[in-house]
Symmetry: C2
Subunit: 267 residues, 2 copies
């Protein structure tokens, strides 16, 4: 089916999911929307995140997308149900594939979850993990300083090490052997986080798992793009085109030529 | 004049300005709006901050306010001109009073400014300071990690000391003797900042100066509340009532009983 896949995030972080989709599904066209005017979602209420997500999905549907990927953990945690009810195309979120991978990786049946305040409060990872295996112990921790640290470029820094140490301190008491990096920015801290928890803990990056799930879904529903159809990537944001392009160019394998500002509140 | 003063901020930080107004003008009623759904403004473009500010001012005008206080440095920096054009009531911002105080305090004619990315980029403090005295040297620095550190409660912490040290490092090369804490959250870090720059540097808190300017303005325009008129404080937010009340109770001298959510995008 020669229609694009719609993908959205509260800002730029979802581009890491877009990158994985470009890698694993190089024949598919994408329409990306980043809600850079209203970022971040991680500290917002369910009502507000649902409202913003619905507006974005309304916008994506005007682009005749054949599937929607919620590339934001917080929007996945709080709004996936509402979005599935609102549209007829298949919807993939980042939480479920991440939870599946974590459940498949753990031997100790003890899994750690790192995420934003709203993702952790939602209890969504616990819900999915306990549906998969009720005996799994889930230890979750909100890490509100991780996104600002990443955005300040402190990926390898003594301050980041200090903060990672504090957030993961309690987690060390449980013998977790899988740790979900449950926010699109967190994989950028995988170096520091990996050293803190040690080699025996598998770090789960939901972006990778999400692209895999999307590929399966498109195959099952027989809506993969026909071979050799032209591939197009379109980018839309609600604010700050230059900042977006500069981040996108550092993440994506191809240069972003054009990004369009959308008045998202009118959708 | 027995009408309330409208005051707004991108979130909860402006409550420190509201507190100063309550202290210095105990006879005045206030209507406070915190844009907690779209916080923070400090990384957003002028267009977006102007649009959000206009919506808020439209809302405040429905409350028949007699004056408007822009309690957010970023909105002051980017939107004060547009707001003054849009309404007929007097508008006070936090930047101008802060700049005046800094200019009055410096002997070396060297002033430091700390603020959000958008406030610093706007160059607004430089503009006001150079209008007051073209010989003043202004050294400004964006401090994007300060707000998240304050919101994580790390007011006195080795990580905060480390970050403060880095942001203020360059500033030490200039002999500044006044330093503007140009974001409503920053006065909460005055302990760490004060130790870093030393006793000889006067820390300017725009909240205090803004309340003083407001008092003068109400007197000049003869619109002070008549003595013994009833005082009412009303609070409105765009998201997260409970979080707002909990922060408000920690800042304000009186308990906040009721806060109402407003669909601000519809204004």
């Amino acid at each position: 089916m020669n229609a694009p896949i719609g993908i959205f995030d509260s800002g730029v972080g979802g581009l890491t999911v877009a990158r994985e989709i470009m890698r694993q599904l190089p024949g598919e066209s994408l329409v990306y929307f980043g809600d850079t005017a209203r970022v971040p979602y991680g500290s917002k209420s369910k009502n507000t995140v649902c409202k913003y997500s619905r507006q974005i999905v309304n916008f994506l549907m005007t682009k005749q997308v054949k599937a929607i990927v919620i590339a934001c953990n917080t929007a996945s945690a709080l709004a996936v149900g509402e979005i599935r009810e609102a549209v007829e195309v298949p919807v993939i979120d980042v939480v479920e594939p991440g939870a599946h991978m974590a459940a498949a990786s753990t031997k100790n049946k003890s899994i750690g979850i790192l995420g934003t305040e709203s993702t952790i409060k939602s209890g969504i990872y616990e819900k999915y993990l306990h549906q998969l295996d009720s005996e799994i112990t889930v230890v979750s921790k909100a890490c509100p300083l991780f996104v600002p640290l990443v955005e300040e470029g402190l990926l390898e820094d003594r301050v980041t090490e200090d903060i990672v140490g504090r957030y993961l301190h309690e987690m060390k008491e449980y013998e977790i052997d899988a740790l979900v990096l449950g926010c699109t920015h967190y994989p950028l801290l995988r170096g520091v986080i990996g050293r803190e928890v040690g080699e025996k803990v598998k770090l789960v990056n939901p972006a990778y798992e999400t692209a895999k799930s999307l590929k399966e879904l498109l195959r099952e529903q027989e809506i993969l793009a026909p071979p050799e159809s032209p591939v197009q990537y379109e980018y839309y944001v609600s604010d700050g085109v230059e900042k977006f392009i500069s981040f996108a160019d550092s993440v994506l394998p191809c240069h972003v030529e054009k990004t369009t500002v959308v008045d998202i509140e009118s959708y």
